[in-house]
Amino acid sequence: MHAAELKGLTKSYGGQHALDGITLKMEENRIYGLLGRNGAGKTTLMHVLTAQLFATSGEVKVFGSDPFENEEALRKICFIKESQKYPENFRVCDVLAVASSLYPRWSAETAEQLLKEFRLPQNKRVKKLSRGMLSAVGIIVGLASRAELTLFDEPYLGLDAVAREIFYRNLIQEYAELPRTIVLSSHLIDEVSGLLEHIYLIDRGRLILDEEAELLRSRAYSVAGPAAKVDAFLGGRSVLGKEQLGGFLRASVLGELGEGGMAAARTAGLEAAPLSLQQLVVQMTGNEAGYEEGSA
């Protein structure tokens, strides 16, 4: 069984496609990265996955069944989002009490531990919390829920580097203790790339990349050196983007460099290196026209 399965999922608002024919399958007990620019459709996708929004067409399955009004399925999902609203008079402890009674695998220990690490005052009203503290509440709920499918949508708005480290560390620890499917949507790609096992990249509502993180390392590379030499080297290769600085050129290239390519680059006096995930995402989603497979 898959933790989540989408088939031709489309969500449109008056002819505009927020999501456009997305098909994917998430395996159980893996960590997925859902990447893309603002407005690409990541949040919409997670809302559809949790039946908070309805798909215009296509199929959504969570643990094998449609999540709409499906308590059995929804019980297994915890969705933490940056824009989560809380009732007016709720304190931090109220939120945790409600969440703890919703999730069968809730860990009070984890919640306790994280409260301490984030230095979150339990009796403070949620409305009065700073942006970072508010994010911490979400993170605590998300990790302590131990839900079979845990979705984090930009969970660390306003959190400083130390607090983000706390999140990453606890995420790994929790995952190691009790494996579950985790989907992490993030802008801080470099920070999280080490955590992710599988990458989905969304651009303008379309899924443009669906790949193992391991394999992505060999999927694109950059070559840098004197412009003329780089240009010569690029002949016939699929170029994602170029940056020129005087006579110096750095190009991002899609495809496997391989031993041969590496040797060729070296003999040409060029520097070649695998493209980092962040660079790859920037190259694939940065241009105005949108990314097309095979375009040069």
Partner: protein
Amino acid sequence: MKSRTATVALMHARDKWTWLFIPWMVLLSSFIVNFAIGLIARPENFTTGGLMSILIYMLVAGIVVIHQTFSFALGLCITRRSYFAGTVAAAGGYILLSAVLLAVLLLLEQATEGWGVGLHFFELPYLSDSGAGLALWTFFILLLFMFFGGLTIGSLFRRFGKQGLLFFFLAATLVFGGWTAVVTAMDWWRGVGGWLMKLDFTIVQTTFLLLACTLVLAAVSYLLLRRATVQA
């Protein structure tokens, strides 16, 4: 592991301010003002509309509760069904509690001949001497009706947004306004009045009529919420 409906009910129950403290503060402040008037001005046997305050508050509570908790609950992956059932259970409980308090205060008022100053604050029209049981029932139904009225408006807003709500009220005004215009133009008011007189509902019948309306409102509100979404 509690049922999720129970969790929703307990979620609301945590908010004693919305459900208990604020409505009773509103009502009691109105009572105190009227009692003071009774003490100072010494009018003979006067009735007030103070009881309306808690009824209006219930309408507002119905509107506000969805705005306050629907996205939170759905954000925690609660089904709309559980949300609705839990909300109704919690509201029903608090409304029953309020109705009991009102009935007790009515008994006290009657026992003290209007708190010693002839003040009829907790008395409903036509209900001055029909016993505590019927008073309790009537309070309960009135509060419940107002709450579901609010809940329906809140659901309408949640489902169709600002424009939807505006459109609904515009349409309602047009339909009702049109009807009144027709009745006035055709000089039918006498007939309408006569028909109402002929119905001659007793208090008990009226409460059951209200109960039926309440059930309809509840059904409408549930159907609206079932298609309501959380965008962000």
